[in-house]
Subunit: 457 residues, 2 copies
Amino acid sequence: MSDGVTRPEPGQSPAQAHGQRPGRRSSTRLDNYVDRYAARTHGMTASEIRALFSVASRPEVVSLAGGMPNISGLPLDVVGGAIADLVRDHGPTAMQYGSGQGDPLLREQICDVMRLEGIEAHPDDVVVTVGSQQAVDLVTRIFCDPGDVVICEAPSYVGALGVFRAYECDVVHVEMDAHGLVPSVLREAIAAVQASGRRIKFLYTIPNYHNPAGVTLADERRHEVLEICREADVLILEDNPYGLLGFEGEPHRALRADEADGVIYLGSFSKTFAPGFRVGWALAPHAVREKLVLAQESATLCPPSFSQMAISAYLKAHDWQGQVKSFREMYRERRDAMISALEDMMPAATRWNVPDGGFYVWLTLPDGLDAKAMLPRAVTARVAYVPGTAFFADGFGSQSMRLSYCYPTPERIREGVRRLVGVIEEEMELRATFGAGGHPFERGLERGYEAPNTDLN
Amino acid sequence: MSDGVTRPEPGQSPAQAHGQRPGRRSSTRLDNYVDRYAARTHGMTASEIRALFSVASRPEVVSLAGGMPNISGLPLDVVGGAIADLVRDHGPTAMQYGSGQGDPLLREQICDVMRLEGIEAHPDDVVVTVGSQQAVDLVTRIFCDPGDVVICEAPSYVGALGVFRAYECDVVHVEMDAHGLVPSVLREAIAAVQASGRRIKFLYTIPNYHNPAGVTLADERRHEVLEICREADVLILEDNPYGLLGFEGEPHRALRADEADGVIYLGSFSKTFAPGFRVGWALAPHAVREKLVLAQESATLCPPSFSQMAISAYLKAHDWQGQVKSFREMYRERRDAMISALEDMMPAATRWNVPDGGFYVWLTLPDGLDAKAMLPRAVTARVAYVPGTAFFADGFGSQSMRLSYCYPTPERIREGVRRLVGVIEEEMELRATFGAGGHPFERGLERGYEAPNTDLN
């Protein structure tokens, strides 16, 4: 039972042992446990893209890849003060185990947050999770057996696709256009899957400021989507981390606002406050909520009390809606910087959308270009993005990429686009010179499990 | 798709809607989603015991049931100061997404903690988890297919049994005695399972101050257990939340200290510091560690940065080992209070062990008494415990109970034992009067999924 890794001897420091491991990097390729893993584990391999991202995180690279919110605008004095009060006044409770369902006061405040999108809910139907990522995991855990179908937009969130893969679900993608999910295509896809005798467990959808596509489901389509799913008896998993980060007008009305029984709604404080506390939630029909709590207790006993009470204190101590407004303005400025850079510099055959909120632009390359194959050359040119294939369960998306404008400054965004344009133009020239056979230096990047790297969320 | 629960109307507050739900309690018994759940979900039903515990949490009840550490001795000024500094100096990092594997500095500090038990490890082989409960979940997730065998002590930790059930594992229990797991019985059990053609994925063991049995694996048995598992090619999952809470002498040497490749070691800050941050860890062979990180990213993207950095700051700012020493003294005093109360008052035919550390005494009732059937009467008499059946996957344990001394004061412990003795004596009298047919007021408590209620950890 050796994994081939040198272990430190007693009395030898780990650092010494580490220093004496010239073969460590290669030896980790060996996995003597490979015959013992569960079936679900065999698809879990770190993707090649992942290795590139460790390069992409160097400061000289402009990363248009990450989904990290820019939280530099948070008032540290307010946050620090609220947390200091929390420790002083409620320390023993905040540091103790809490309810598996989550802190009751925070669940009330979560209902206030959801009311901004037209949702009237009872705190008893809310389950707090370790980020909304865990909500996707727990919902999938309670609903999906291997082989069950989950319907997703095309493209869809890489972290959710990773969960569906981990539970051995079959993902069926449904086309979007500039107004989000196309109802007629959804109807056909559901009918086709049901006709084939396979079980659809839910439709996973991000209606607002989609990750990665940047589009929003048109208000007039929402009732149609609800109606289609109601008729076909398909649950909806509405994932809405960006709903309050729209650049124009009021927040869109949530699907859950008009359908309580057929929708499980997921929310998060990661983008409206900060992700490091890892607090998200699920709002579910009561019977489902009971299962989610049991699943949460099995997974973690309870979500972190301290994180929950810290967020609760922040929401109380601060004009958090004013803070979200200033986040919106900051992201709109960056969206504008990206769009104007794209308009100024991108070759004519490149297409992209203009998002009304959120973090992302979906860009499609001129015909014949492959975003995944091009990525190593982009990183060499000191710009990074996420290739479109990461957002499909089926290998599609190679001509597209996700560009995020949430984290870099407007100046860096423009510089990143400039570098990216250089890479694309070089690709186009090479293609014109060498023909459709591809890039002469092409190195096949193996497709692996696209782990929901935190840089991709 | 109605679950039978009244929903608030738009414009109506949740509280109003709640007030208008006279049928809510009974209507939640309906579950119109029951045909949609995954196979793993069907075993998840809240146990009847759970309902009793909500009664048991009333202040007039002495709870000898809970596993909550008593953290009232923590220096709130030190914790508050360390966290205030953290927000001021590293707020944007502490509130941001972090590595899926966990904070590098904390992983170094975790290696320092493990060194106290003879473990020499490299931070690169540590994965931070949302409490060690999540480590049990993730290890099971990557190793276990439905029907795989996990070997557990008899009795075993209720939260781990819940995980194994959630992943549809078959649990095979192996007997313990006053010195922990019995090596000869372990050897026979492994041989019998392997002879039957079933796959053993690991041995789950709590070597120190066992939850719930209170016993510790004798040092002289440890090499034998390692040798048996090595020969049979069975991994060991060593769960060690209480290892530093021994009442006498130095910490026991961990199994992992003498076997790096065949042991996955789990640790936690929940009992040595505080559980509300939800920070535990797994130390695993390198190849397994890689899978655990992928599983962690799929489950939560990353463990809470803020919690990790708060613990890291506390470990640095405070004499944390001195704090653990004072925890040990406090728990020893409570252990002594419980043992002397048991010795003074319990009927002669009752048996229990005297733990050398940790939180728990395992008590076996006189023949013919059933701890689970007796629980409602105990709660009526204002004392609570966990019936032994919660700690077996197979319905055994009905004559035993877990008594915890970690949370109540010595005076309350003595009062709790006094009440418990009253209930036991009444049971014995009734049994003497009515014979072996059982209690005249017997109500069968249905066996359900024993969820790892936070009160049970």
